[in-house]
């Protein structure tokens, strides 16, 4: 530029008009190139200073206006809706940019640049993953957009795409962090709710444990000893994660209260109270809880206990009368009613009852045991569970044997659901 304006230039080209014309064009091209360099430099400095997506998009649109000397800029979603616009122009120009953008397809028949009277618009595409947005600019001027403007708009569109991808990645990372936090929170709720050790009543042995799945579920158990026996609730909230953990925590609190009432030797009455207390929150959340409520009551005229169970859709619940007798039947306790939260309990429910003497064993598990798959997709199943149940006698050994058998069957396949074992056994006296 300084060359063009200098006296030296004037002195040398005064008598050569053709040369002067070419030099003027060269000077103009140099100015434009310099100008574009400055603008590209400014574009290169663009970075995402905020992870607020709206603020970032606004900043990018402002940049597009400034770098292209335009007075309107519009970002159109893949479906054709206007995601965001920024303008200093009247509405007709914005409308033109929008209509032009909706009708334009990369490689299609519609031209990238369009002029209607004094209004000019220019389009480019912004790729974000599989999605393609349209970035359109507009201005009212005697001169339309040229090739340098198209290249500038393409460069801005690429910067736009990179920034939006960065935002998307950030949002994914944020979601993962939230999930991780929720998972940890759910795990701590579950641990807190199950922290109280399982009570027992001599000579009965009780033992319980839960192996959590990657996303914790809503398995729970509560056992309360009293002056003539043992009362307990074992349950599973439908679902996983924080919602299931919160509902499970509620259920554990309710169970602790219900099991301490005078009527609590009657499992149907306990189940009815649990249902009454939890139906509201379960109905609101659209969930249900499978649970079995039970009592083992010491008989007044002997060493045996009376076992009473009220099963609301829980599985497996099974009782073995004598672990040493290979022909002793294994009773699978059927549900009296669907899970709590599904329907109000009928008034005519009758609990499962049987004598529980030396050698007897009661197992209440969760569906995560039988449903554990091995690498070929085969479930652990109830038959394998029964074989383990007949092979051990003490509650702690039986609990560990079941969980170990499930783990061996899984052969590295991650549990898809929590695996809970709650065992009550009545060991035989030595020599019996």
């Amino acid at each position: 530029v300084s060359l063009v304006e200098s006296n030296v230039y004037e002195a040398h080209v005064r008598d050569y008009p053709v040369l002067r014309s070419e030099l003027d064009q060269l000077a103009e091209a140099l100015m434009q190139a310099n100008d574009r360099q400055l603008r590209l430099y400014e574009l290169g400095r663009l970075n995402v200073e905020t992870f607020d997506s709206q603020a970032t998009i606004d900043r990018l649109l402002a940049m597009a206006l400034k770098l292209t000397d335009s007075s309107a800029v519009v970002l159109i979603e893949p479906g054709g809706n206007v995601l965001r616009e920024r303008t200093f122009a009247d509405r007709s120009l914005v409308d033109q940019v929008v209509q032009h953008g909706r009708g334009w397809r990369p490689g299609g028949e519609a031209r990238r640049a369009q002029t209607v009277g004094q209004n000019h618009s220019l389009q480019s595409e912004v790729r974000v993953g599989e999605a393609t947005y349209k970035l359109g600019i507009g201005k009212s001027s005697s001169q339309g957009y040229g090739t340098p403007d198209q290249k500038m708009l393409d460069a801005i569109a690429v910067a736009f795409g990179s920034s939006l991808k960065l935002l998307a990645l950030h949002e994914q990372a944020l979601s993962a962090a939230i999930v991780e936090t929720e998972h940890n929170m759910a795990a701590s709720i579950v641990a807190s709710a199950l922290s109280e050790s399982v009570r027992t009543f001599a000579p009965l042995e009780t033992s319980a444990s839960t192996v959590s799945a990657r996303v914790v579920g809503g398995d729970f158990y509560v056992a309360v000893a009293h002056d003539h026996g043992l009362r307990f609730v074992v349950g599973d909230v439908a679902g996983k994660g924080l919602p299931a953990a919160v509902l499970m925590s509620n259920a554990v609190t309710v169970a602790h209260m219900v099991l301490r009432n005078d009527y609590s030797d009657d499992p149907v009455a306990c189940l009815r109270e649990m249902s009454r207390a939890l139906n509201g929150i379960l109905s609101t959340s659209g969930r249900f809880i499978t649970m079995v409520v039970g009592a083992l009551i010491k008989q007044t005229d002997g060493d045996d206990f009376d076992l009473r169970l009220a099963n609301a859709g829980h599985s497996p619940v099974c009782v073995l009368a004598d672990q040493d007798a290979s022909d002793a039947p294994l009773h699978f306790v059927s549900p009296l009613t669907p899970p709590v939260g599904v329907i109000p309990l009928r008034s005519d429910l009758v609990p499962f009852e049987m004598a529980f003497g030396p050698g007897s064993c009661l197992l209440m598990g969760s569906d995560g045991l039988a449903e554990q798959e091995n690498p070929t997709g085969e479930h652990f199943g109830l038959d394998r569970l029964e074989r383990v149940l007949r092979s051990s006698d003490s509650a702690p050994v039986l609990r560990d044997s079941i969980l170990e058998a499930v783990r061996v069957h899984a052969d590295g396949t991650a549990p898809s659901d929590d695996q809970t074992v709650f065992v009550v056994s009545y060991p035989k006296a030595r020599g019996e």
Partner: protein, 113 residues
């Protein structure tokens, strides 16, 4: 998952695993039939190999919505694995289960109210 509608019943056929991963798609598929306010809904479960508690929750929720609107949810020809789960949870007494070659009939016993 396929959807077919006749004059009174919309039928949705489910295949493979019906679990927490599939329930959003299930809810989206069933929503138009639920919103039309008229037809009953049948779920063909003959080719479902596994069902979990989340999927059962969605079915219970759908049953309640339809029942409250005077409509009916039918479970068509549940596979053995689904039938076993319905039995051990006691939910088989809630749903209107239709075995193959029979005509859907409303369950006269169960009441949600």
């Amino acid at each position: 998952m396929t959807n077919a509608t006749n004059r009174t019943t919309s039928t949705l056929k489910l295949t493979g695993r019906f679990d927490a991963h599939e329930t959003p798609s299930f809810v989206a598929k069933v929503e138009p039939s639920l919103a039309n306010g008229k037809s009953d809904i049948s779920l063909d479960l003959g080719e479902v190999v596994f069902i979990d508690s989340i999927a059962l929750s969605e079915m219970v929720s759908l049953h309640k919505k339809l029942y409250d609107a005077g409509r009916t949810l039918y479970l068509l020809s549940p596979s053995d694995s689904v039938r076993v789960i319905l039995e051990v949870t006691g939910l088989i007494t809630l749903f209107n289960v239709v075995l193959a070659e029979t005509t859907p009939q409303p369950n006269p016993v169960e009441s949600m109210r």
